[in-house]
Amino acid sequence: MYPRWLWKACAFPGVFWLVLLFLVPFYAVVGVAFGTLDPIFQSPIPIWNPVDWNFGGTLHTLAGFLPGNTYWLVFVRTAKYIFFAVSISLLISYPVAYYISRHARSTKVILLVLLVLPFWVSYLMRMLAWVGLLAPDGLINDFLIWTHITPEPINWLGGHAGTVIFALVYGYIPYMILPLVAALDRIDKSLIEASRDLGMTASQTFFRVTLPLSKMGILGGCVIITLPMFGDYYTPRLVSGSPKTTMLGNQIYLYFHGGPQPDVGATMTMVLAIFLAFLMAYYLYSVAKAQKDLQ
């Protein structure tokens, strides 16, 4: 018999990690949002005691998130990009994950290794590689001109929403495929066999058995890529650079990067975190509901 505290102790590193690397920094952001400035250097001085918090600037920033105002419009644009990027990622990822899980018998390990391979190269380097490929004199334009598909190079990097969405898909898609493979792997094959034995066609089996049972993998993958996409600022910067494709992360970066208003950046970070917390709460609710349904 192991002592009961042993299992609780196993959670300690995770809890410690969470407190040290999430809760404390997040409280620092809150402290900056409601804090003040060094009067000379204009760097943020967080106020830790909620009793002393300044709310004046915060309310002004929050007003920017009201429908029709600047931050609201940037937020809507960001949400649109992410909606498309996540949808496209899912459409690409699901068949790949399905193939790996169901049909790639001897090549499964190799395919999984290949999926993890992009993680060996930094995100920034992978994006910069695409900047080179998509440039007017890049390989893709060279190929399109060579094949007479286009007479002139296409300026993919000229500030297009499509390029930003494509880059987001490319950058985050491995994070979507892996949880999907795991979810599809967990489906009990006997359920699928039972479905076929009871007369369902292959497509009926997929839509009525496989897809519902992989719902948690789909949701998990979507959550995993949605959260970092909302904070992303370097992807639009690298592949576009145009104000027309600015995402909320770029606005936060601008205010944190310098100047006398880091509190504005901190408030925007808080708003984003609250929104993402709602998304996360929905995910957790779905997980709990799915587990309850299985019992």
């Binding site: 400035l37 009067p39 250097f41 005691n49 940037v74 300026n155 104000p243 100047g259 208003q261």
Partner: protein
């Protein structure tokens, strides 16, 4: 200084006397019970109607003598040994210069970099870096002096300041008497373009700045410098407004409106990549710094000619001209070497080598003669407009200078709105 500022300064001074650093004192005020009373003052007043710490705001026609933070080092001291650390932007100093300095004074020389001036000031203020000499821009100098981040300099170690530096910068408006700084490199802001892609005679236009607002056909290939001051400044110059330190809300609002219109016209990229994107052809028309234009040869694709690279600026009093400086951090443990570095970088041979072999940013040195550089082909004739002459500085010139805290917020908010693309 206002009563409120005095009240705050008094509170800070009392804590400093008890052994706290200025920064620690401010934090303590905010966190403590005093914070309730004083912290609104801190955030509301910030720099008030004056500059940081109540110091006056320097302008080319309103020179400022900065207060002395302690004494400069004495004459004739021996240089220290060990590792000498230079604090600078990345890629803004020729490595050979660092090596030569190390060899000359028998020390190891190390380069520590910052991404931008905000980071430089923050790192110095927080003592996050242990550096002996720092690059600094004039618009942040008042802040650094008010925060006691810099050490006054002793000119007896820097004979090259008087011997080699352009007259207007021997005692510049932002640091009368050169109490803290010596100049490093200079640059103008103008328009860079490729003559093989842009058909207009930009230099011959009535209002060349307007090219950005008439660049529909170059959509996707235009660019604006990623800086609140430069972007809003461009829109102000387009309207013929040369008061680039204006804090008039109407002027800023008009500039924002013009920038928003510009996004619709040419969808510009907002970045500082013109040194690379113009020679490589990924942009054809870009707001540009003269120094970046002169760097084109390092980025030109193999086999291509740089003759297509063009630059225009409006000239004295009509376009911004800026310079960087060197200053000695108050925390340096090698002040003698720091002075010797200043003298070394102002040596005509070293300054020339740094300029020609690496940075592309022109030193403010008498011997680096613009006409000679063009005549001997060091600088191509088609980029002669990027060369700066000594008389371009001084009264009548325009520079981006320190704004009040309120002004900074105004400029930043307008810029954020421009960047939002809304």
């Amino acid at each position: 200084m206002s009563d409120d500022n005095e009240q705050l300064e008094g509170a800070v001074s009392r804590l400093v006397k008890h052994g706290m650093s200025r920064r620690e004192a401010l934090k303590a005020i905010v966190i403590s019970g005093m914070g309730v009373a004083v912290s609104p003052l801190v955030s509301r007043l910030a720099w008030g109607a004056e500059g940081p710490g109540g110091l006056p705001l320097a302008r080319p026609d309103k020179p400022v003598s900065l207060p002395m933070n302690g004494e400069a080092i004495g004459d004739g001291m021996k240089p220290e040994s060990g590792t000498f650390t230079v604090f600078n932007y990345a890629d803004y100093l020729y490595k050979d210069i660092l090596d030569q300095f190390g060899k000359k004074y028998d020390v190891d020389v190390q380069l520590t970099t910052f991404a931008n001036m905000d980071q430089c000031i923050t790192k110095l203020a927080n003592h996050d870096v242990d550096v002996d000499i720092t690059e600094i821009t004039p618009d942040r100098l008042t802040q650094a002096v008010a925060g006691k981040l810099l050490k006054p300099i002793n000119h007896s170690y820097i004979p090259n300041l008087e011997a080699n530096v352009w007259p207007h910068l021997q005692s510049p408006f932002y640091d009368r008497g050169s109490r803290y700084t010596v100049p490093y490199a200079c640059y103008t802001t103008g328009i860079g373009w490729r003559s093989d892609k842009v058909s207009e005679d930009i230099a011959g236009m009535d209002n060349p700045w307007s090219i950005f607002w008439n660049a529909q056909k170059y959509k996707g290939y235009t660019g604006i410098i990623n800086s609140p001051r430069e972007a809003i400044g461009l829109a102000m110059l387009y309207r013929g407004n040369t008061d680039l330190n204006s804090e008039d809300p109407k002027v800023i609002d008009q500039a924002l409106e013009d920038l928003q219109a510009l996004v619709k016209v040419s969808n510009p990229k907002v970045n500082n990549q013109e040194y690379q994107s113009l020679p490589q052809g990924t942009s054809w028309l870009h707001q540009a710094w003269s120094g970046d234009m002169l760097m084109y040869k390092w980025y030109l694709p193999e086999g291509q000619s740089g003759d297509v690279m063009q630059y225009w600026t409006a000239g004295k009093g009509k376009a911004p001209i800026q310079n960087d400086c060197w200053a000695i951090p108050a925390t340096t443990r090698k002040p003698v070497l720091a002075h010797l570095w200043m003298n070394f970088i102002l040596d005509a041979k070293n300054a020339y080598s740094n300029f020609i072999n690496y940075t592309g940013y022109q030193p403010t040195i008498k011997q680096v003669d613009a006409a000679r550089l063009i005549d001997n082909g060091t600088i191509p004739k088609h980029l002669s407009t990027a060369v700066i002459k000594p008389e371009d500085f001084g009264p009548g010139s325009i520079q981006y200078c320190t704004l009040t805290s309120k002004g900074q917020k105004m400029w930043q908010d307008a810029y954020a709105q421009f960047i939002s693309g809304v």
